[in-house]
Amino acid sequence: MNPTEQFELQRIAPYFINGVDVSFTNASLYMLLAASAAIILTIFATSKRALVPGRGQALAEVLYEFVANTVRSTAGKEGMRFFPFVFTLFTFILMSNLIGLVPYTYSLSSQIVLTFAFAAFVLLLVILYGLYRHGFGFLRLFVPHGVPAPVLVILIPIEIISFLSRPVSLSVRLFANILAGHITLAVFGGLAVMLLGAGSWAALAPVPVLGVVVLYALELLVNCLQAFVFTVLTCVYLNDAIHPGH
């Protein structure tokens, strides 16, 4: 009973270019699925444009208002120019988390490659936009206000290191949460199967199944929460780029 078997990549359509493996894997399939789920949801929800929204349109409006409030409250008015990017990030991560909760699917955000790609992109966006907007005044971010000079010598490397560890913590938080949840669910399911196959212990078999149900509810909460936290922290880091200096 290997709980990590669910994370293995399987090539659906093998394709090699000069020995480099670029085949269409199940990860690619689920990425397409998550992206198209997000696109179809927003297109169908906003196709009617009724003044009094129906259920689908209300869902899209709630999603929009939620992300817009988050961006506006953390990054201010100027942060709204990043709203399309943040909305895309939030919807894609939410969709890939929710699709991964369905049994027998492949959970995308449990791959460190994907989450690190997002986090590295956010970091690059912060650095490049900060430099574009404020020039080298962006480096004021690492120099807090009203700190005497001897402390500054130690403080600036600490600030730089903590800034560079942001993509690491952002990506590992999402990745490890989803990974841990799915492994726990698989282990509990394996427990139920093992109990059923052990003769007289089969009477205890409903207990792990109950555990799976409870854990599933927790996983639902954690997945949605982690998508939200990734988005909020992205907005906070973008706010650092827009208004550097403490």
Partner: protein, 76 residues
């Protein structure tokens, strides 16, 4: 000698203690939030988002410890 199949699971168990520390951290954040919310209920809703962000940050560090435990367990 220093065999990973012998000491790996021991290390995994030690690393998983970090998840208990994360639970304490999250409990401190929400405990303080509830404390403040009971004193000033009208200001509580505005700070709920901050409480969730703080809890996610604290839990993230505990997840790092759990990740190390998983990696060691899978290697051994």
């Amino acid at each position: 000698m220093a065999d990973v199949s012998v000491y790996g699971p021991i290390g995994a168990g030690l690393a998983a203690i970090g998840t208990g520390a994360a639970a304490i951290g999250v409990a401190i954040i929400f405990g303080n939030y509830l404390n403040g919310a009971l004193r000033n209920p009208s200001a509580a809703a505005a700070q709920f988002t901050n409480a969730i962000i703080g809890a996610a940050l604290a839990e993230g560090l505990g997840i790092f410890a759990f990740l190390i435990a998983i990696l060691l367990y899978l290697k051994a």
